[in-house]
Homo-oligomer: 313 residues x 2
């Protein structure tokens, strides 16, 4: 069974870890969002891809929610000594990833090959593919102006209201080598529980044409009115969109036919079914490694949980 996961850096990366635990490792392909990639001090930084790499390599920093476990920040401290004002966290360990990626790209590799090399070097058996090798960049409009995604997210601590999200570069961007084939061969495609507007829609904009909705399942990023982490609800509301599982399901309808809804939102099951989905009602919140494994297993079997059967449509 071949599984492709579309992932951002938090919920999607967590689910990647769960899937990697329950699947034969070579069965899993993770396609990562690159629309919040950035370059700082000449380093090519790919935050969502890195979170997936670190999750799969078992070195993810759980406390911080990003970066490498046991991270230190001596380089950033010295940059401050030089009068720089770094707003993006560049951990000392994390830097090795950025340096190696940048160096591989400068040597002539595309970002798909460079990512595959990092994956191989970390001993990861799954495949991880950036959605595109061409630059795609999410820009958000806020009261402080039009910002790059990471400026909004990290520098401004996602405290600003977002009135528009534009994904630049999708007209020129093609799916990375291997992405179309992986989607074509997949027995199941999973849209991870990441922010639809800034993590998933960039992937869909680039590779959505290759996604067969009949084989695709989307996992709700919203549970009981809130996201696992981050400003998913705030952004959707700022955009005038419906910040509910039903709203998310409506947005994914062209790409998915199964929707995994959290038990706490079971009241929306009917509405989502009415959109044409088969609905799985599950505990979608992944508490720790065991929770990630459990959710992954339940999504793959598609079995409705024992205490809340969700008849197939």
């Amino acid at each position: 069974m071949k599984v492709v996961l579309l992932a951002g850096g938090t919920g999607g990366a967590m689910l990647a870890e769960g899937l990697y635990q329950v699947l034969p490792p070579e069965s899993l392909t993770v396609i990562t969002n690159t629309a919040d990639d950035l370059e700082l001090w000449g380093l090519a930084i790919s935050p969502d891809t890195d979170s997936v790499l670190y999750r799969l390599a078992g070195v993810f920093n759980e406390e911080a929610g990003w970066g490498v476990a046991g991270e230190t920040f001596a380089m950033l401290g010295m940059l401050k000594r030089y009068g720089e004002e770094p707003w993006f966290g560049l951990g000392d360990r994390d830097l090795a990833t950025h340096l190696l990626r940048t160096s591989l790209l400068r040597s002539g590799l595309g970002s798909a090959e460079a990512t595959a090399e990092l994956v191989r070097r970390l001993g990861i058996q799954a495949r991880v593919m950036p959605m595109s090798e061409q630059p795609v960049r999410t820009k958000v409009t806020t009261p402080k102006g039009r910002l790059d995604l990471q400026e909004y997210f990290v520098r401004e601590g996602h405290r600003l209201a977002v009135s528009a999200v534009e994904i630049e570069g999708t007209d020129q961007a093609r799916p990375s080598p291997g992405v179309v084939e992986a989607l074509a061969e997949a027995d199941r495609i999973i849209i991870g529980p990441s922010n639809p507007a800034i993590s998933i829609e960039p992937i869909l904009a680039v590779a959505g044409a290759s996604i067969d909705p009949a084989r695709t399942l989307a996992v709700t990023p919203i549970v009981a009115g809130a996201a696992l982490k981050g400003p998913t609800v705030e952004i959707l509301l700022g955009l005038g969109r419906e910040a509910t599982p039903t709203g998310v399901a409506r947005g994914y309808r062209a790409f998915a036919s199964v929707f995994a809804l959290d038990r706490r939102d079971a009241a929306e099951e009917e509405a989502i079914r009415a959109l044409g989905y088969r609905v799985l009602v599950l505990d979608t919140v992944m508490g720790g490694p065991e929770g990630r494994r459990r959710l992954a297993a339940e999504l793959l079997t598609g079995d409705p949980p024992a205490d809340g059967p969700s008849p197939q449509r």
Copy 2:
């Protein structure tokens, strides 16, 4: 009084610190050897220049003899996790310098301007100039083949016999902007106590034509048959050269007219005087900050020490 120091990364950098302490800071210009610069993982690394910067900024790592005080190596540890085999010490703090320099160079600055910017950012009042903006590279011939200087020095721990030293690129290299003017305006030029073959001769090869020997003093890098640090004696012997203060003085004769000899080698005073030098007999070994200050002061006054007068020639 304007002073220009030619410096490598150990003795020369120490003397730079001493001179910076005793001179009005803006009186000092340090011209650094760049023939052992290297590029690793895309980073532009300039070891001798960095040692001078760190000495003058007061952040030099005295215990290690290079790099920044209190250094850590988390990035290198993670690079090893990626299967890299780093042989050159890239400390986490040190990395900030390499990243910033590389980033300034990529933005279009020449290395003289980039170095000046690092100097300014560190709050250093003296000027530090790389000898040339064009690549000059020292190659050493050893039983393991022809190596880059840092491969010989760091990777091989300078344990190999050196049978030849070639300084590549000097035909194309010009002195950095400001170097010729600094040498022309200098009241005193000091050739620091660095390795003649690998630290000083590259500078002389590029900028020697602008050095007036009448205003130039050379400090012995050899005391009682040994160097302060590093393989100076071994390299000179390997090249079939005379590894004594007299031998060094002979090599510098076209560039200098005053030679600072260590008291322990007073027996060579006559031989060096016979080469046409005025000789200062001093304690040239710099023990700690006070020793660096003392030597700098004695070199600047040119006063022979009280207990061993060395009459002017």
